[in-house]
């Protein structure tokens, strides 16, 4: 293991990533299956932005915490919850015209704890009146409340817009990759991105996280990262393909493998540096805001980032390699390699690429001097 890491750091890695991907992809397929099932069985826990309804957040005042601490000898954390219970808040909400309100007590370090009340306004209820009643129940000024009211039709519209934007995005990206690389790579990239989205959305269904516009932003970010990663990989494969001399000597499999090994360090490092800010967002966001927006956003991002880096290596490229294998030229190369029993064509490709681009120890060919490609 240590040796492998050391080799990796020195850039000596030459692993048959494509062959490895066949085994790994079984796991991927299973995960996708679980996520799809979860989506159908459990469904998504949609926030009020998508379903309509109202949310009020009432901070628990410091004084109330102090007063409650007098009779609650056991601890300080739940003192506020003891003085006013979630049931009190729920009944206040029901009286003001919000039947069946869901009340949560959210502990927040660094700022006042909050009661979060979610429900649907009754036909005759007025949101200002509800806010007043809730503020009275907890004993705070009504100005310190935060609230949100969303009409039911709005959610459909938001979802509709997001869907349309997604379709346009996918079409444009597919065209872009086709123009820049080739259509087989469009297919590979879109399959990889689809894989990432299914896994992330599936995780939301599995864990029952609430889907908010922030979550949608997270999904979009994930798509962006995943595509970005995939393009970096494809770009390397393409440039290697162009600089290979006679393609009959190598299989596409070997070419892809060499390229993947070349970009692997970059993928790992980029993943680490992308995950670090998100991790800090998760820890700090959770620490300061309880189950707030930032924490959920960061959770989605974390899952998505890891899955995204994984998929550009293990899903996107294998798909392309599989499609390319059917092109006559590459198929012939593969057949020749199989017939000759050559399994080391990867090493040959590595050496050919090195010889082509980096002729340093041999006398430099003047035409190539200083040229990268």
């Amino acid at each position: 293991m240590i040796a492998a890491l050391r080799g990796f750091y020195r850039g000596e890695n030459s692993w048959d990533i494509l062959r490895l991907s066949r085994k790994v992809l079984l796991g991927s397929a299973a995960a996708v299956l679980i996520c799809v099932v979860a989506l159908f069985v459990r469904g998504l826990n949609l926030g009020i932005e998508f379903e309509g309804g109202s949310v009020w957040e009432i901070p628990v005042p410091e004084e109330a915490q102090g007063a409650a601490a007098d009779d609650a000898a056991d601890g300080s954390g739940d003192a506020a919850a003891d003085s006013t219970t979630t049931d009190d808040v729920a009944s206040a909400a029901a009286e003001a015209g919000v039947p069946d309100a869901r009340v949560q007590f959210v502990v927040v370090t660094g700022s006042p704890d909050i009661f979060r009340v979610r429900g649907v306004l009754g036909p005759d209820a007025d949101s200002a009146a509800v806010a007043g009643a809730l503020a009275d129940a907890v004993g705070v000024d009504v100005e310190s409340l935060s609230s949100r009211q969303v009409s039911p039709s709005f959610g459909d519209e938001v979802a509709g817009k997001a869907r349309r934007a997604l379709v346009v995005f996918f079409v444009l990206i597919a065209l872009y990759l086709w123009f820049r690389f080739e259509w087989k790579m469009s297919v590979g990239a879109l399959i990889a991105v689809g894989h990432d989205i299914v896994l992330t959305v599936g995780a939301y269904a599995l864990f029952g996280f609430e889907v908010t516009p922030a979550t949608v932003v997270a999904f979009l970010t994930i798509m962006g990262y995943s595509l970005y990663d995939t393009i970096v990989v494809f770009d390397r494969v393409k440039s290697n393909e162009r600089s290979l001399p006679a393609r009959s000597h190598f299989t596409y499999h070997a070419l892809a493998n060499v390229s993947l090994n070349q970009v692997l360090t970059r993928s790992v490092n980029t993943s680490i540096t992308s995950v670090l800010p998100v991790l800090s967002l998760l820890v700090v966001g959770a620490g300061f805001l309880g189950a707030g927006t930032l924490a959920e956003f960061a959770t989605a991002l974390l899952i998505g980032l890891l899955v995204g880096s994984y998929s550009s290596i293990f899903v996107a490229m294998p798909t392309v390699a599989w499609l390319k294998g059917y092109e006559p030229g590459w198929a012939a190369a593969q057949a020749a390699a199989d017939a000759a029993g050559r399994h080391d064509s990867m090493e040959a490709a590595t050496q050919a690429l090195a010889a082509e681009s980096y002729t340093r120890s041999a006398p430099p060919r003047p035409r190539k001097k200083g040229r990268r490609r």
């Binding site: 949100r148 962006g224 990268r372």
Partner: protein, 487 residues
């Protein structure tokens, strides 16, 4: 190192930190959105399809209402058919929510007195008249009416929107003319109007068709105020105050005066639709308390700083000298982005939203990746035996093309989202796009020359200083013959 690269490096540093210094010196700071400093955010959607003209007029009216609230940075924008009203830092939130998007009544009020609002004595007696009128009509509310009059007298102000009550006398200004009106209780509302149109008949006039019920009420009013002025009042402004010239209108009225075409059309629109030319539904109303906003802001800032420190440390440990370039690139990008956000806030009133902040934190990763792509290429070439200084030059072209192609995909995504979505997602797309553009510029004009400089002056052909271990040190020929790259 070429002269042009030195110039580019110096210029990048100058522009990066110079813009930051300029912004700080000018006292500009990013305008914080509702979620970051507390306030009110309302999303309005027309209940019936509305055309551009109606929406633009509606926005104008909402803006003038909001100005009355004294919000420092109101942001009212149209996104397709929707109107987004953001009032960060607004004090009286419930009043703000009520005021925005309410379809105030169009009212017909008899004119009791016209006066010159610039004459303090006249203004004072006008307020007295209205106060006396309300006192007589509504004796129960005596004390309150009195105090209000006293306050109003002290400040010599027109009736405030919330005191503009249908069955009370009010003191209101005329639209676009220096005339004040003292008006009696409303006789009719806009519901009496079925249709109104501006027509040209020697001069511009407004033809008004009344509803059946409205026609009866209108004739009653005409009988009572024959020969006097009746004001058409909208949103606390007298749109027009024609003199009643008949007692029997039979369901249609013609308002003539010294209208130009625009004036006639505006009046017709006002008569047709009431205060807002479109009726709005409040689709999404969000109020955020100042404490919650501050908490979110603090969490975002701390998360960003901690994340930056971690990333910087990782880059320094892994890439050694090149890590310094990565940290410096982040610093330059950060200061340019800060300047840009401050400038957008100052000149466009564009607020930095929570989603925007997360977009920026995320873009740290994109910026660092540009560094990593380049450094990995350099390391690869050095491992193959190339001299460090030559590798730094030669690797850039390929690396930069990779960065461009990948960033282009991000830009396509940001563009599509910005065009086709609204609210949270749109804010995110904007800042992601900006950060990506900055990344491209910084990579080309700052990262490259600095890396080349370091490779030439500081590495001294010891790849270890870049965190490069050659496969087996010693079996590679020294790169004595290398000359500079071509890219």
């Amino acid at each position: 190192m070429r002269r042009s690269q030195i110039v580019s490096l110096l210029l990048a540093i100058l522009i990066g930190f110079g813009s930051l210094a300029g912004v700080l010196a000018a006292g500009w700071a990013p305008v914080l959105g509702v979620q970051l400093q507390g306030g009110v955010e309302v999303l309005l959607r027309p209940t019936a399809p509305a055309d551009d003209e109606q929406l633009d007029r509606a926005i104008e009216i909402i803006r003038s209402r909001v100005d009355a609230l004294g919000v420092a940075e109101p942001d009212i924008t149209r996104q397709g058919e929707q109107v987004v009203v953001q009032l960060p830092g607004v004090k009286d939130k419930q009043r703000a929510v009520d005021l925005v998007g309410q379809t105030a009544e169009l009212r017909f009020r008899p004119v009791l007195l016209t006066f010159n609002p610039f004459d303090e004595a006249e203004f004072g007696s006008a307020l007295d008249l209205a106060g006396a009128y309300n006192g007589a009509v509504d004796p129960e509310d005596d004390t309150e009416a009195d105090t209000e009059t006293v306050e109003a007298e002290a400040s010599l102000d027109f009736t405030l929107p919330e005191d503009d009550i249908a069955d009370q006398a009010v003191v209101l200004p005329g639209r676009g003319e220096p005339v004040g009106y003292v008006l009696g209780p409303a006789e009719l509302t806009g519901e009496a109007v079925a249709e109104a149109a501006a027509t040209f008949n020697n001069a511009w006039v407004v033809n008004v068709d009344l509803t059946d019920e409205g026609a009866v009420g209108f004739d009653e009013m005409a009988a009572r105020y024959f020969g006097q002025q009746v004001a058409i009042v909208l949103d606390g402004v007298v749109e027009s105050a024609p003199v009643i010239r008949a007692t029997e209108f039979g369901g249609t009225a013609v308002i003539s005066g010294t209208f130009d075409e625009d004036g006639a059309r505006d009046l017709a629109v006002a008569l047709r639709f009431g205060a807002l030319p479109v009726e709005f539904e409040q689709d999404d109303v969000r109020t955020v308390s100042a404490t919650l906003g501050e908490g979110t802001l603090r969490a975002g800032v701390i998360a960003g700083v901690v994340g930056l420190i971690l990333v910087g440390l990782y880059m320094l440990v892994y890439y050694r000298l090149l890590g310094i370039v990565a940290v410096a690139s982040l610093a330059i990008s950060g200061s340019v982005l800060w300047s840009l956000i401050s400038w957008l806030g100052e000149s466009r009133g564009l607020a930095l939203t929570l989603a925007g902040t997360t977009g920026i934190i995320v873009s740290i990763g994109v910026q660092v990746d540009s560094n990593i792509v380049y450094y990995e290429r350099i390391k690869e070439e050095v491992r193959r035996g190339r001299a460090v200084r030559s590798a730094a030059d030669a690797s850039f072209k390929g690396a930069f093309m990779t960065i461009v192609w990948a960033d282009l995909a991000s830009l396509i995504g940001a563009g599509v989202l910005y065009q086709l979505t609204s609210g949270t997602v749109r804010g995110f797309a904007l800042y992601l796009g900006l950060a990506t553009l900055i990344d491209l510029a910084v990579s080309y004009f700052f990262m490259r020359p600095l890396v080349v400089f370091i490779a030439r002056r500081l590495v001294n052909e010891e790849p270890r200083r870049l965190g490069v271990l050659r496969p087996a040190d010693g079996d590679v020929a020294p790169a004595a013959t290398t000359t500079g790259g071509t890219s």
